[in-house]
Amino acid sequence: MSPPPLLAVRRLEYAYPGGIVALHGLDLTIERGRKLAILGPNGSGKTTLLLHLNGTLRPGGGEILLDGRAVAYDRRVLDQWRRRVGLVLQDPEDQLFAATVGQDVSFGPLNLGLSEAEARQRVGEALTALDIASLADRATHNLSFGQKKRAAIAGILAMRPEILVLDEPTAGLDPQGVNQLLEALQQLHEAGTTLVFSTHDVELAYGWADQVAVFHDGTVLAQGDPDAVLGDRALLRQAHLQPPLLLELAQLLEAGQGEPGWPQPRSREALLARLRERLRDRSA
């Protein structure tokens, strides 16, 4: 029997006080070492789901399994749970509270009971991982939005979670900011951290995740390989999403070429290289 997934959500139900149903019958599986994108339009309940993944919200029904065991909601279990699952909120202002960046990042490690020396080391590591070591002694309120975002992620990273859950990590960032962030996340991925992030950006999910869950109306319509899930037009239409441009162009290129004998290009560069190849073949 294969080992149970790191974190799994089964038949999750949640209604906000006042009776607005946010999640119903939602299933999601988070396997170790994945880069999972939760894809859905704004207001579809993605944040509500993410708040369940670290026990902030308690489901009205269904269960959440950590290493195959259903979680409980007492203090001790919650502490352990949040050590393993780090949640980065969408707005960094909701997370940063200390006067300097270094002090803010030290908050989590000190809560883990680490000594000041260990905490200091963790702070250094986390800031370096996000390429903001030079900001350690800067005032939190004087940072740019992109810097705040990275400081907020560093604050979670310094706790060395097994799963890093990010709510709309690229929202509000400029293209360069997005690239820097993705680079940092890629390194975490390579170091073994499981990544889960919500987004409404189909291109980002297609280009960067190795698994996609399409979220619609409080439930996950499909979870799986990006090519298969995002190639399903009917499914995407139902979720009010558009297929990724990269995938559509690649499919156009392949039309009439028989079975694709190569993996789909998943980045601009790969697609452009493929296009050049095709044009060369044609002129030859």
């Binding site: 006067a99 002090q103 309120h141």
Partner: protein, 250 residues
């Protein structure tokens, strides 16, 4: 406020231990209150200006701007010290030399005292000063509160500013009655946002293992006893010089 905060975080003396700035500021403040003002005051004013501008590298303009507000209050209030009102035979205003002397003393004394505080606030961020409060036994809860307020002030100041700009863009401040109405809406909105912000921050902190105590690393700043002692000696010399001048011995 933003200008003060900016210089506090970026001046040349930013990395010096806060006690090296708090002690001379406090010492000079005390001196300005007890020493003969007309001679000591200008000495204090000159030395705080010198260390703020030449030492910490804060532009003179900024220092003057910071001093301008209290100076304006001072100028508005001080003339009333110079005159005395007499109701004995009807009503008469009298300008006495004693009154003038007192007004001058008060002005110099107050300016000197304010300049000490200006030096401190322009060179030391609040975040550096608060840990010193912990040393003198202020409870952790109060210190956490001060730091949280410090962090949130900037957040809400910015929201207030952008909110005001957005209202002004829709002509919310063109007439007095509309301006009052707009201001009311803005204030109500900010209260609501503050509450929502607090709830979301609770979630954010809980995700990082918050259990009721906002503990963070202390800043690594080493106290230079040499500088601290030197500043104390200088304060002593200023006090001595001020007193000698006042007695006419110098």
């Amino acid at each position: 406020m933003r200008a003060i905060d900016h210089h506090a975080w970026t001046n040349r003396w930013r990395d010096r231990h806060p006690a090296e700035k708090l002690a001379p500021a406090g010492g000079l403040l005390l001196l300005s209150l007890v020493a003969p003002p007309l001679t000591t005051g200008p000495l204090i004013l000159a030395s705080t200006t010198l260390v703020t501008v030449r030492g910490a590298g804060v532009p003179l303009r900024t220092l003057l701007q910071v001093l301008a507000t209290p100076a304006a209050f001072l100028l508005a209030g001080v003339p009333f010290l110079a005159v005395s009102v007499d109701f004995a035979n009807g009503f008469s205003l009298q300008l006495s030399s004693a009154g003038l002397h007192m007004a001058l003393e008060t002005t110099v004394r107050a300016l000197a005292a304010v300049s000490c505080l200006a030096f401190l606030t322009l060179t030391t961020p609040l975040a550096d000063l608060v840990p010193l409060l912990r040393r003198v036994g202020v409870p952790a809860g109060i210190i956490e509160l001060i730091l949280l307020v410090y962090r949130l002030i900037f957040l809400f100041a910015e929201r207030a500013l952008t909110g005001r700009q957005a209202q002004a863009a829709r002509l919310g401040y063109t007439r007095l009655d509309r301006a009052i109405y707009s201001m009311g809406l803005l204030a109500g909105n900010l209260f609501q946002r503050a509450l929502a912000q607090a709830r979301r921050m609770e979630v954010g902190l809980a995700a990082r293992g918050y259990t009721g105590e906002l503990r963070v690393l202390r800043l690594e700043q080493t106290l230079s006893w040499w500088r601290l002692t030197a500043s104390m000696v200088l304060i002593g010399l200023i006090g001595l010089a001020g007193n000698l001048l006042a007695c006419g011995w110098l």
